[in-house]
Symmetry: C2
Subunit: 239 residues, 2 copies
């Protein structure tokens, strides 16, 4: 039987409400860096992740046993927190078995929007696992780009384009222009994504903060994780 | 002195509020077909155009002397109206000197959003005139794509990319990813825009309504108009 499951791409998380169909799987994308951090933290043994909106809320987890807290605003680590939004912070044994409470500028907002849906997170760290999961589940898919403070960003859109491109080769269909645009942007940037993004707003932002190594890892990670983080009751759990 | 005026691209009209700077010129874009119709109607002698939101409101102009009324919903001409959203409807002597009251699915909504701003309309019919106007005025520019019912569309975004590309050659600057994406989409589609858009949602919509000739004209018009329609007191006037 021909698969006629649909792909919808939302370039900015606030479009979510309008374009989502019932019974879809939402892939939340915040490549630089929230969803990359989430994949990395799970890969290094974090037990579960609580995405929260405010710094106040994340601090309520600080003294709980077996919890670690992380915060970022405007791409910067916040004072008073041990962990930030760099994937390298999570590549150590201390995170194993812990519950991570995390707040970021864009990614955790997008996650909170999808709380009542079947939502997972995608990044280049778990790209293959996400593809496999979506093909196996065989539902309509919404690619939800977090964007930057309510605006379009290139890196999330290009990631969505790559994912859409692979899904379409596996029988998924698309009927909206944002997915077509995302695929075109993926195709022209695929040979050198780091170079292509050199003029993008967020890479410039990270560049000015000396976070080039973070960017390189997020775009071209050194390992693949087979974990698909799934949102259940406001927490991200390992599949 | 170096021109450091900024270009901002909004892919969907409802983003307008967030990204507009004071003292900017807003270029409203609804290529298929509202802003193409507007340029064509002015070129053929229409005196002024009143963009209105509702069918009820547009009908209040029906019996006024020297007025013509036009309406479109979901790309279709509405019953009871003499004019619709095809540029060919306006290529006749009867429109000369008339006031046109017009409502469309997306374009007039975008125009109404910009009422308190310095707003003009852009299409391929008046592309050169719009470029000249923006360079002469030398203000920050917001390229406001109407989209389709609140969603991204390819044709408006590609038009914005072409406009941004020419403005940047004339010293304007850009610091947002949506403009970068629009320019890339323009570059890969420029050689055959009609072909490139063959899979786009709106061209398919018009195709199914036998409006291929409209599409061809909107993408590759047979004349250039030197009129820049400007919004003043809720009406579009000739510059």
């Amino acid at each position: 039987m021909k698969n006629t499951k649909q792909i919808t791409t939302c370039f900015v998380s606030k479009w979510f409400e309008k374009s989502v169909a019932n019974d879809s799987i939402i892939v939340v994308i915040d490549l630089l860096r929230a969803t990359t951090v989430i994949s990395t933290a799970f890969h290094y043994g974090v037990k579960e992740i609580i995405p929260v909106q405010t710094l106040e809320e994340v601090l309520t987890y600080k003294d709980k046993p077996n919890h670690i807290v992380a915060a970022e605003r405007n791409a910067k680590l916040m004072e008073g927190f041990d962990y930030g939004n760099s994937p390298f912070h999570y590549m150590n044994e201390e995170v194993r078995g812990k519950t991570l409470a995390l707040t970021t500028t864009n990614g955790t907002k997008a996650l909170n929007l999808t709380e009542s849906h079947h939502a997972i997170t995608g990044s280049f760290v778990n790209f293959d696992a996400v593809v496999e999961y979506l093909i196996e589940k065989n539902k309509d898919v919404v690619l939800l780009c977090s964007g930057w403070k309510g605006l379009f960003n290139l890196e999330d859109s290009i990631f969505a384009g790559k994912l859409a491109s692979v899904l379409m080769k596996n029988g998924f269909q698309n009927n909206n222009d944002s997915t077509l645009a995302a695929i075109e942007l993926f195709k022209i940037s695929d040979a050198d994504l780091f170079g292509f993004l050199s003029n993008s707003s967020h890479r410039k932002r990270l560049q000015s903060l000396n976070m080039e190594e973070d960017t390189k890892f997020c775009l071209n990670p050194t390992f693949q994780s087979d974990i698909v983080p799934i949102l259940k009751g406001g927490r991200l759990l390992k599949m």
